[in-house]
Symmetry: C2
Subunit: 251 residues, 2 copies
């Protein structure tokens, strides 16, 4: 008679919380996109398992809500289910259901930890997907963020067929931020095959960015400290030449 919307963290069991594990273990039914169900396979025993497919998020949300009327359901997502995950769509149709959202370590935090502390000063997450939002809105948001000079974690940056938003994003960022701004293309972080491509805003090769990547654009107070990318809020020289323009060398 209850629904738990569960964030499993970025990859293996090590970055999963106790509350997430408990919600999956104690469920009658575990529902999720196939690879996310696999991510908690070690917690499955007698639960009924419903494996969903990509693109059927709405149907999955509906099924989770329906089944929660007669049992205890865990709807699982990778990362944090409330960050570009299943929580919003599901809650919007869950009137009358007892719902608990269980937070998790989102991909931006897992990526930051592997790199050092690039999100230790202010930062934003931005999805570049124009599936549910017009590209012009994505561009408006990115322009405001680029002007702000804070770090960015770009979710859903690019796929084989959806390449325009990322190209537009690079153009906007290059207008407002130094070409030397550190950029990292992080793919499959905390999973098998983890890869980190270190580059700059001027030199990034867009074709290295896939659907499984998160692109981290350093903020104006971040610098490499040896192997670590570190944002220090009190770093000197963070004021650009004007109220909104950060000129070359400002980072």
């Amino acid at each position: 008679m209850s629904l738990f919307i569960v964030g499993l963290g970025p990859g293996g069991p090590e970055h999963r919380t106790a509350a997430a594990e408990r919600a999956v273990r104690e469920a009658d039914v575990v529902i999720g996109y196939g690879p996310y169900v696999d991510q908690c396979a070690d917690l499955l025993d007698e639960q009924e398992v419903v494996r969903g497919t990509m693109g059927e998020e709405l149907e999955r949300a509906r099924e989770a809500v329906e089944r929660a009327r007669s049992g205890r359901v865990a709807l699982v997502s990778s990362g944090d289910a409330g960050v570009h995950g299943m929580a919003a769509r599901t809650l919007a149709m869950a009137e009358g259901i007892d719902v608990t959202v269980v937070p998790g370590v989102t991909a931006a935090l897992a990526t930051a930890a592997v790199l050092g502390a690039p999100l230790a000063d202010d930062w934003a997450t931005l999805s570049l997907s124009d599936l549910h939002l017009p590209l012009e809105t994505v561009e408006r948001r990115l322009t405001g963020l680029a002007m702000s000079g804070i770090a960015l974690a770009l979710y859903n940056p690019r796929s084989k067929t959806r390449t325009e938003p990322f190209d537009r994003a690079l153009a906007i960022l290059r207008e407002h931020r130094s070409g030397e701004t550190p950029v990292v293309v992080a793919t499959d972080v905390a999973r098998e095959g983890e890869s980190l491509e270190t580059t700059t805003l001027a030199e990034i090769d867009a074709t290295t960015v896939t659907m499984r990547s998160l692109v981290l654009v350093a903020g104006e107070t971040a610098e490499w400290a040896g192997e670590w990318l570190v944002a220090l809020r009190d770093r000197a020289n963070i004021k650009g030449p004007g109220p909104f323009m950060l000129g070359e060398g400002a980072t």
Copy 2:
């Protein structure tokens, strides 16, 4: 001979990851601000414990690095140590030390989960502290973010003596976002005494905001769905009257 910089999550053990627990259990020395050490008291056994005090972050980082030259150290923070926590300052002085950053559930994610899914569309974290950054830089960043229309999690919003940044922040937000924008003052989330004050950008009472609060300002795609605050990326009517101005009623 190694240093683990550990995020313990927002409060009790339920939102702590397995990796965080392991790093604390296996440490020779556990170092942290007193209340954060208390937060992992259930994991302490034979470890040496060094309790720090507020305002001595630099000394604490230095001690953690020094002790890591001869033993296994866990430097603990609440939330995620890489988000306005101890990770950056410590990494900046940890050359030659074997360091692992263990990510955690940051306060914004814990707050969002309690409210529903207000960070399910794009969002940013912004610290309003002007201790290490000039207030004019905080204002520049906030202006860009307010223009972008995304959700905001305001960290370190206000203390008894530091009230100006929050007043300035409200003024900037009110210039760019609707007065009806949902705002939640979340204090001690996932801890004893948790309180959630629901209000709007027009009506918020600044005196309800303390050092222990996180202020969540909803993004342009968020609305209340019964008791839940939900950001839906494909919500209609998110385009403001111009490329940067979101007028009244745009949310």
